[in-house]
Amino acid sequence: MQFMCLIYADPAAGPQPGTEEFGPFMHGYQVFTETVKKDGKMVHADALKGVETATSVSVRGGKTEVIDGPFAETKEHLGGYYLLECADLDEAVKYAAQIPTAEHGRIEVRPVMVWDS
């Protein structure tokens, strides 16, 4: 079963680019990606550009409305995701806990819907 691990964090928390801690932090992501690939769990993963680049789109009464900013104004932003193939929730949680951002942010784990063909 596929589990989507959504990575949320306050951009002001955790290691910041340009600081000494940032290098090891990003290296942690490299190690994690290698681990999930080696274990055969990786389906896909991406990092997203900052929430200041977000645009929200909706259609009401046939009219498209475009507004600046993310869907929800929260301190913690969606920064990226890993889509993993895991046996069950315990396995997905075990991997999610190894995502470096879990140390200061939060990983939301969601099973991916399977459509009956």
Partner: protein
Amino acid sequence: MLPPRSLDRAIERCVREEWGRILASLVKRLGDFQLAEDCLQDAVLVAMNTWAVEGLPKSPAGWLISVARRKAIDRVRRAANFASKHGEIAYLMELERVTEDEVEGFGDERLEMIFTCCHPALEEKTRVALTLRTLGGLSTEEIAAAFLDNVDAMSARLTRAKKKIAAARIPYRVPESNELAERLGSVLTVIYLIFNKGIERGDLSGEAIRLGRIILDLMPEEPEVAGLLALMLVHDARRAARLDVTGAFVPLDAQNRSRWNWTKIEEGVALLKVALGRGRVGPFQLQAAIHAVHGQAATWGETDWAEIAALYEVLYREQPSPVVRINQAVAVSYAMSAACGLAMLEEVGVGGALDRYQPYWAARADFLGRLGKTQLAAESYEHAIELSENQQEREFLHRKASRLAAGLV
């Protein structure tokens, strides 16, 4: 043959007794909590009618499980007419091959079930409710009553939980050894929450003790399981003495110790000794030990307060919570002096951290009263009364405050 009323009760008791083991086995085979529960419910209805006429069968559990399995075949077949579910049909064929012998000796999957129901991916209240429903066999109505919730809300909560278990694939198994301690902690906490609910009202404490016995039976090597059961037994032993004839709360120092259940205390103490002998001490064993010191004192005056204070110190290292420190301060106030207790209390309450916490003000009021600081004590009693959540507690504090004001203490 038994008269009808007592036969009804015998059937009810038997169903409650066997519910958890049968349901656990059905969930294992069907891989679906909701389907398993629906089928068992069907089987119970059939049993009520059949047994009322024919009497209890030789093996009621075996009887219930084979009827529940037939019901499962019916239900899945009916569903299969609408959508072809290959996996379930293959399962059905396997199910139909199950012989009577296998039905008699069906395995015990209650551990798998309780670890699933107490999974941290479920909300704590849901864990408690689900455990009472699945392992305890309580009805949704009974569980709703215990939470003072309405039945529809409780029913929706249980349905949501069963859906999440299926959809998020919460596994049905006993956790591996590297995560066992933490996950077992969640199971034991759920049982202790049930127990404490029972101390407040109703007979849930008896149910929690029954669940504790089941888990201990299945995990005899785990000292914290024995520790929890010992804690519940020793605590429950004093229940009858906690309220007087008018229903008012009686504090430990005024309790009639001949009303304590000494059999329960002895059983708890014996369990605790074996558990401590395993050399892996934990919070439940420590709390049981504290209650055991109280339980073994023939009179209030003979309580070994120094021992209790020392046990709280060890517990605080395991569980550094202000609640533990407040209790320790109470023990210190008797082991040493009210002034020492007060000093300890003020240390935890520094910066107003416990200003909205009733036990803090109740302990403070008591210490100040014993130190002769009547005015300050009265103010603390007022805070404690205002923060009390139940009537018995409020009345008890009122009585203490008025006795102090009248110069009776």
